[in-house]
Amino acid sequence: MRTRKLLLSLSGVAALVALWSLGVALHRTTILPGPFKVLAGVVDLARRGLLVRHVVASLFRVTWGYVLAVVVGIPVGLCLGWWRRAHRAVDPFLQILRPISPLAWIPISILWFGVGDRAAVFIIFLGAVLPIIVSATNAVAAVPSVHLRAARNFGLSSREVLVRVIFPSVLPQLIVGMRLALGVAWLVVVAAEMIAVSSGLGFLIVDARNAGNRYDLVVAGMVLIGVIGLCLDAGMRRLERA
């Protein structure tokens, strides 16, 4: 059953690659690369040691921004969910921040942190922290009151209630929020790298175009972003099921 599902997914990808190949061949374009040229581009990058360098650079920034977002967002969200009044006070502010794309913060983050890693990390942090806060807040607010009452009835201290009831109760919803946030973080890193830094997959894409229209490398960068994003999401899904 599992292998059949996997096979179906793989054949979908294969069909898409075939279509891509066919389209490029029929159009006889010289600018847009076909799948084999892109693969050759990836190999070229790997040979020059750039593949690992760019991927590591992007992952490094995502890790920092995301970890910061988790470390800040979870406690803040849990507190907001617990103290309704704090939530009422802070919520309008959060709702105003939410529709502002993290990318809109690029100029300000450059102003604050200069051109470099820290600006990119800050932007990723901003993108990831809001979904985490929102999901943690909602998760705490959704803890059934019967569970809290049962915990009090069995004589648990506030700390025990937090560890033994609230935390396990919010965990599933929290992990969903963390998965969404990781997706956002990965989405944002590429954009941030197009402007603020000189390494990473986002930089690779802009640089490959600027340095002589290497569209094979542009698409190679895109494919790598997609594949790594898929892997990150799959990892989080596995965590969700555990």
Binding site: V146, H147, R149, A150, R152, N153, F154, G155, P168
Partner: protein
Amino acid sequence: MVAAAAPTAAPVKIGLRGVQMRYGAVEVLRDVSLDVREGELVCLLGPSGCGKSTLLNIVGGFLEPSGGEVRIDGEPVRGPDPRRIFVFQERGVFPWLTVEGNIAFGLSKLAAAERAQIVAHYVELVGLEGFERAFPDELSGGMKQRVEVARALAVKPDVLYLDEPFGALDSITRLQMRSELLRILQAEKKTILFVTHDIDESVQLADRVVVMSTRPATVRRIVEIDLAHPRDLSSRRYLELRDSILEEIGLAHKI
């Protein structure tokens, strides 16, 4: 068993004196007084929304009354207490814990070996052998209710508060659970306050039925159920008692 364990000689366990509750202008409880003796099973019977759950929450220490007081063993109630456990409808079980984990919830201060022994005992008592490692999602409503009861009994409370515990179950399971509850309580005698809106349930289970009025709830009448367990649900006395309660509530016996 002997006739209806009406332990008139037993000391008063729970004493309510002039308990009142109002939310703003809404009066929910008016001057409720009642003595529950040790080992007694008392049903609070009343129409939905009459305030009987509010009363149980006051006795359980989850709500403070606007007036009057509740004493247990002569001590005023100041909050929930592990010696007196509240049993909710089956949604009170913790979905992230297994059957064993749920039953062990109140036993965290014990050594692992002792805890395991107690859990095994109550798994057997409520008839959940083979489901120790199952999560609540994998259980039926009746089984979840058994987990709740076992979780409550495991901490060896003297008092159980049951708030329409079988209300969410289908009628067949409900009937089974009632006789199961009586069987379990024969093994472990507890003082029990049981809230229900089901007249048959109250007459099947209780030593005494406290018939409550609509809001503001007051005690209308207390009916002694002088029937031995197991109770014959078609005996004359059973029907008599049931009909007298029906009458008290003001319902006709015919539909």
